[in-house]
Amino acid sequence: MVEERAREKAGSEFEPLIVAYCCNWCSYAGADLAGTSRFEYPTNIRIVRIMCTGRMDPTLVLETLRIGADGVLIAGCHPGDCHYQKGNFMMEKRFDYLKKAVKNVGIEPERVRLEWISASEGGKWAALVREMTEEIKQLGPSPFRHMQIPKKTDAMIDAFKSQRLRWVVGRSQIRVEIDEGKYRQTVDAIMRDEIERHMMTGALKEKGPLTAEELAQLTGLQPSKIVQHLIALRKDGKVSEAGEKNNQYLYQLV
């Protein structure tokens, strides 16, 4: 392991690296029990202990992928068993959005998993690790760091750090007065918007002032979408006009 990961060595079989975030009270204990019971499973998993899955900010999951994990497993207590009453429910809710976002930027959603493992489910833990290792072996190395469209994954992480998306996801944890299905649709739309806008701001950051047309080319988004986002970004005070180029306005980051 002192050398670069074995998977990058030519010729050898791909050995995925999976990072598992286990809650202290149920899943970490479940993984302990797998050990106590001597259930064998592949060596590809590395466990990070957290107190509760409620702690798992989606950005932590995405950063883990950006750092280079081939898969991320989040394991918590079964519904109703959370040591902190409802941390797992909160994780479940934000996980829906997280998974959609991962899919949206073109990463196989199977690379992120949320599972319930109780302190008594050592066998389930071992089986899960076996299954997930096999699945990710089939998928191959994570494309996360090598996405073609510039900074699409970075844009997703920035979107999950943005106040707007965090606010609507956070609000969904509280009883929403409007229809839950409609609310989800709204969050999904905002999530897509934020990813796209961060792709645009990412491009502006990297390349300097750009026209709407150039932004469309760089991000692969429809020009009409670009214009919509530019209006919003201008109102938010995030971009401003910066002269003209070929009879088109140039835009820059504020």
Binding site: Y28, A31, D32, L33, R38, T43, R55, M56, T64, P79
Partner: protein, 596 residues
């Protein structure tokens, strides 16, 4: 960070438990090459006296300010090693554990080489986190020597008297006009057949006359705020609202008795179909006489399958009270999923009472399963000796009751032992119904933030290890609020809850969680989302900023994960501390061939 991290790594062989698979010497040698590591060694048992001494001596000798032990699970040994760090003069939170036994050697016994590699990874992750650790303190709070007991039934009164006798001030409240709870409605108690009043009266006399107990009847809990050691209470009684402050709370509001829906076994349609509780009452009043036959049916509304998952899914998952309200509604007609555990003995007791008074009465008990434990087996034999007839039916063929045109009751059942239908008239049909959660109790749980289990009863902090504690520090549960109990078990739980509360009040102080949330006030915009999602009510918006009341915070981190401004972080589990472990995993910092 004021001082440069100086990490000591101690790799444990755990006899052959780790050393038999993982090359611990190699791991220790490798650890020396990890940045910040100033000392690394391995030994046979790090948790032994010799191992702990080695840690303490190395801390001094190498001037270490962080300790990593690579051994077993922190869930069992972390307190031990933290204590060793403390003895060596280090803050116990400057310690990190690398689990290379449960998560490595024990699960990869046949892959020695890979397991050794994995152990190195795990150690490197632990060192990366250790380097970023900060000292933490467990805040100490004062505990007032007073308690509020909610519910003056057997459990509540027992708890109140126990604490009062130890010199603590007790406020005992009861929503009914008189203390006594469900037990005062009972007649005789199994297995001694003493009058329930013989148990209740000394208790009610005791709580009424004790100088340390203030009993308030027709009074309910209206509001609770504060935290362990210092709860602020608002009570509502006949004289209006009253405020008081207490150190601990014991919740003992009891439960309800399941009432069958009208028409089930002709209940509510024929006066001679009654529940076991109503039968108790009639026995006491002598209204049963010497009938020819009494039929008792067990498990009416109990042990009826699981709560369906669809039922759980239909509700906003974070809202337990809503869920329970729905379950309660559904259960009204369908019955409850669990065994109420006291009904079998209660039935046998009433059967014996009748047989002793009227030996000629034919007493028939129809049951699916009969559960008599401990000495109650003798009690059951006594009933058989008195010629009580126990007839087992199969679950798929429950008995049927029909009313003849003259209003007489006819019982039809399938005797599983004889494999044939039995059919006989009965003067009385008595239904054994379970103890069930009450709405009041669920609302109370919600106010106190005590979780409710899926069966509707209040949840203990741990079913086996902490049966009278709740997830809320300083609040304990006693009696049938956490599940069906008979009188003696209620007394036991009352005594137990009082003992647990007295430990806190006797010490006069308690240490609370160190791993709590921290707000970056510059980032905070005071949106109040944290306030709304926290299950413990720890954050509060004051002057436009979120303030975390550390005493209330339990450290789950949900607020940190949801804060729109990412202004909240968790002590000991900061984002950078978490991600440092992942980074350490990907790029071996010590490697000379570091890629990228």
């Amino acid at each position: 960070m004021e001082h440069e991290p100086r990490v000591g790594v101690f790799v444990c062989s755990c006899g052959t438990n780790i050393g038999g698979v993982v090359n611990v010497q190699e791991v220790a040698e490798y650890a020396k090459t990890i940045p910040h590591v100033k000392h690394a060694d391995y030994n046979l048992y790090t948790c032994s006296e010799a191992g702990l001494t080695a840690i303490k001596e190395s801390v001094k000798k190498h001037n270490l300010n962080r300790v990593v032990v690579a051994s077993c699970t922190p869930r069992t040994h972390e307190p031990l090693f933290r204590a060793a760090c403390k003895e060596a003069g280090l803050n116990p939170y400057l310690f990190e554990m690398a689990n290379i036994r449960e998560h490595d050697s024990w699960v990869h016994p046949h892959e020695s080489q890979k397991a050794t590699q994995k152990a190195k990874d795990i150690v490197r992750m632990a060192v990366a986190k250790a380097a970023l650790l900060e000292p933490q303190t467990e805040p100490e709070v004062e505990v007032k020597g007073s308690s509020l007991v909610v519910g003056a039934g057997v459990a509540g009164m027992t708890a109140a008297l126990s604490m009062a006798n130890q010199g603590f001030q007790v406020n005992l409240i009861e929503k009914e006009k008189e203390p006594g709870g469900m037990a005062q409605k009972l007649y005789k108690l199994y297995p001694t057949l003493v009058d329930a009043s013989e148990v209740i009266e000394p208790l009610t006399e005791g709580v009424k006359s004790h100088k340390n107990i203030e009993l308030a009847t027709s009074t309910i809990l209206k509001e609770v705020s504060g935290y362990v050691g210092n709860f602020s209470i608002v009570l509502t009684g006949p004289e209006g609202d009253r405020e008081l402050k207490v150190g601990t709370i014991i919740v003992a509001p009891g439960s309800s008795n399941y009432t069958p829906p009208k028409g089930l076994y002709e209940y509510g349609l024929n006066d001679h179909v009654i529940t076991q509780r109503e039968f108790d009452e009639k026995l006491r009043k002598g209204e049963i006489g010497e009938p020819e036959r009494i039929v008792m049916i067990q498990c009416v509304g109990a042990r009826k399958g699981e709560i369906r998952p669809s039922e759980l899914e239909a509700f906003p998952k974070s809202d337990t009270a809503e869920l329970l309200r729905k379950i309660l509604k559904a259960r009204k007609d369908e019955g409850w999923p669990y065994c109420s555990r006291i009904c079998c003995m209660n039935t046998i007791k009433n059967a014996i009472l009748i047989k002793e008074r009227s030996p000629k009465t034919d007493v028939v008990v129809l049951f699916g399963d009969l559960r008599v434990y401990k000495e109650y087996e003798d009690f059951y034999r006594k009933a058989r000796d008195l010629e009580v007839r126990f007839i087992r039916h199969i679950e798929e063929a429950r008995p049927e009751i029909v009313q003849t045109s003259e209003g007489k009751l006819q019982v039809m059942a399938y005797d599983a032992l004889y494999g044939m239908e039995v059919n006989f008239p009965a003067e009385w049909v008595v239904l054994s119904t379970p103890l069930i959660p009450s709405k009041d109790e669920i609302m109370l749980a919600r106010m106190l933030k005590i979780p409710i289990a899926t069966d509707g009863f209040l949840m203990e902090a741990h079913l086996k290890l902490r049966p009278v504690d709740t997830n809320v520090d300083g609040i304990f549960i006693a009696g049938t609020v956490s599940g069906p109990k008979d009188v003696s078990e209620s007394i036991i739980s009352g005594e137990a809850a009082a003992a647990r509360a007295s430990i806190l009040m006797g010490n006069g102080k308690v240490k609370t969680e160190a791993i709590t949330a921290v707000v970056d006030e510059e980032q905070c915009i005071g949106c109040g989302l944290c306030e709304e999602i926290c299950p413990y009510g720890a954050p509060k918006i004051e002057e436009g900023k979120s303030k975390i009341r550390e005493i209330l915070c339990r450290g789950c981190g949900s607020c940190a994960a949801e804060c729109p401004k990412r202004a909240i972080t968790m002590r000991h589990y900061r984002d950078d501390q978490i991600l440092a472990q992942v980074k350490a995993l990907m790029i071996p910092e010590s490697s000379k061939e570091v890629a990228q």
